[in-house]
């Protein structure tokens, strides 16, 4: 499984939805992505990649594509097996 797939799974877990629904177009406010779900997504991402995100990144993670940028900052290579 690549890290990108792991990220998609973490989102699906946090949002309680199907991984197929996690696309680049997904943004905060869609498919039940509210503030409570947001913290669950953050926890799932941190767990999946064993990282601890800074508060600015937690607040700034407004879409799936933004999340890809953010996890890359923590040394996650998205196209490599994670």
């Amino acid at each position: 499984m690549t890290s990108l797939e792991k990220l998609r799974l973490a989102f699906a877990e946090g949002l309680g939805t199907d991984p197929a629904e996690i696309t680049d177009a997904l943004a905060y406010g869609n498919i039940g992505w509210d503030s409570v779900a947001h913290m669950a997504v953050v926890a799932a991402i941190e767990q999946a990649f064993d990282i601890m995100m800074e508060t600015d990144d937690v607040i700034g993670m407004s879409s799936f594509s933004k999340a890809k940028e953010i996890v890359s900052k923590y040394g996650v290579a998205l196209n490599v097996a994670g």
């Binding site: 953050v42 926890a43 941190e46 601890m52 508060t55 937690v58």
Partner: protein, 253 residues
Amino acid sequence: MESLLTLQGKIALVTGSTRGIGWASARLLAQHGATVLVNGRSDSDLLKQRVEELKSICGGAEAEGFAFDVGSADAVKECYGAIFKKHKRLDILVNNAGILEDSLLGMVTSQTLARVFHVNVEGVVLNMQYASRLMARHQNGSIINLSAIIGRVGNAGQVVYGGSKAAVIGLTLSAAKELAPANIRVNAVAPGFIDTDMVRQLPREKFEERARSIKMERIGTTEDVARAILFFASDLSAYVTGQVLGVDGGMLI
């Protein structure tokens, strides 16, 4: 049977723990098996000494010192980054660091207001923010915030301090509701008149007047408060959240 009070295997951070209530709490948590991370504002000799003392009284238990200003977002971020790197978890946070500045309402400066709220309120929020994220990973944790009797009943000359300690109650109650689904408990302890360096600075007359207002007829000790903190830190309070526990000997203000 394993004691409900055991903190074996738990990681605890106690802010402002080089002296007073913080130090008594750090000692008591360590005596019950926790690995205690002590904190002071600066990297002082006292902080290093406290770490060594903890290690010796607890038979070589782990202890570490973290020097940072609890109200500084960057410093707090760095501290929790280091905790994550080394321990991957945090089980107990005691938000004890606080400052006391008395001033009659007409003489409150914006600097006093900023200083007191920076440490007593901002510091608590910042630490809860990072701690709760570490605790959420393993769906367990206990946060204990230090309020004060003044934050519940008020006192002349303590508009700023009392306001900051009342804010601690409000933020404790809200965080308790927000974090309960993640099995993170948030409670507050509201000490009365406790024998610390902070109250020893009071003029003798004022000190005696306060001491006389305590129904149990003695000033509280830092250990009295530490025991209430241990209660909230341990499984004895496993189903208790959003509470404010007065530790004041029946003091009336």
